[in-house]
Symmetry: C2
DNA sequence: GTCTATAAATGGATAGAC
DNA sequence: GTCTATCCATTTATAGAC
């Protein structure tokens, strides 16, 4: 009778399935961000997601679309960090320290490094994706910093004529070479103490140049 | 007789051949920097170089080695620019302007963007290549800037305790968002006037923070 | 050394059973 | 919806003639 194998879970049953879509996105995200677009095969994605290739193609019409979905999802995850959290009204020194730390943590996070790597690499072949990433990520960060600087100026804490340029300078200093080293050397990222020290230097330099005397 | 086709150039003759090695390197360089590693096939390289695949493999044992050779060659080409040319002894304002302009031009040049793209993308699979690129390019730039800053400090023109950190801040500001925009948007690079204006801003900010009053 | 032709493997994508 | 099995194009790399 059918109950002769009562404990066998049918192969098609999803065990506590978090909907196959997320299951696929998760596996594909890991592979794409680690291996890049070209080196990641749909075969591997299907295997890692525990589904067949046919199922994979039932959810995403082709590789390019799956790739775009991954990048979009990763951008969406990073946005909450980007919105400079709880700095409105903070005195400029504390505010910039907080922004700087958050920003550097984000830039050096494995997820952000992975997306950056793959988007920079593939944006010539996926121009729309490059644009989407820039506007979802860096542009928002820059806007948020710029808005904070403008508010600080309006409170009389900074002397700045072009907030966007100033934000760009701050952003560039924060990124520094650490980002590059994380991208190119298997060197570990600087620890929290080193990062903190660096951010303090940046903030000091910035205020020395733009602060009110 | 053999002279029945006097004007036929044998297929194997190199017409003004700049040695097949450079011929291959040139074609492969173009393709790799435009299309990335994964999207560039050895077939395409052979076709573009005007040789057969067998010949290609006679010169380079495999795709990875050819790729490494390309990156190495491209790094070598950029080195002359990196060495801060003729700034020794220049007053700090002029020196930094010149360094900043040279650096920004280099960073935004199509060749440098191409190498950056492909090295950043592939360094997880070619760790040695990532290291080589970092030390041949960015690290040298940083060293050169640092040396210049140190000299300026010794002349009493700057107040700097850590030249390397200061160089990193300067470098980061110069790169700014323009680099990112060139990488991610089909947006054209800023023209010479815009770049010049930006560099002046950076130098002003830097000197306001590190200059002697 | 260089070519043509091909081997061997892998990739993206689909057909058809269940 | 999901799987197994497969098609077809492409890729890296090599064998063998000249």
């Amino acid at each position: 009778m059918a109950s002769s194998e009562p404990f066998v879970i049918p192969a098609t049953a999803a065990i506590a399935s978090p909907s196959k879509t997320t299951q696929i996105l998760e596996a594909a995200g890991r592979l794409f961000l680690e291996g890049g677009y070209g080196a990641t095969s749909m075969d591997a994605v299907a295997r890692a997601a525990g589904v067949s290739k046919a199922t994979l193609y039932a959810y995403f019409t082709n590789k390019a679309e799956l790739f775009s979905a991954i990048v979009a999802a990763e951008c969406a995850r990073a946005v909450p960090m980007v919105v400079c959290n709880n700095v409105d009204g903070l005195p400029v020194h504390e505010g910039l320290l907080k922004i700087g730390r958050t920003l550097l943590d984000l830039l050096l996070s494995p997820a952000a490094l992975g997306v950056y790597r793959v988007v920079v690499a593939e944006s010539p072949r996926f121009p729309e994706l490059g644009r989407a990433f820039y506007h979802a990520g860096p542009a928002r960060t820059l806007g948020a910093i710029s808005a904070y600087l403008q508010a600080a100026r309006d409170r009389g804490e900074l002397t700045i004529t072009e907030p966007t340029i100033a934000a760009e300078l701050f952003w560039g200093m924060i990124r520094g070479h650490a980002h590059l080293r994380c991208l190119l050397l298997d060197d570990k990222a600087p620890d929290a103490a080193q990062r903190d020290c660096y951010v303090q230097t940046v903030v000091t330099v910035f205020i020395r140049s733009f602060g009110v005397s």
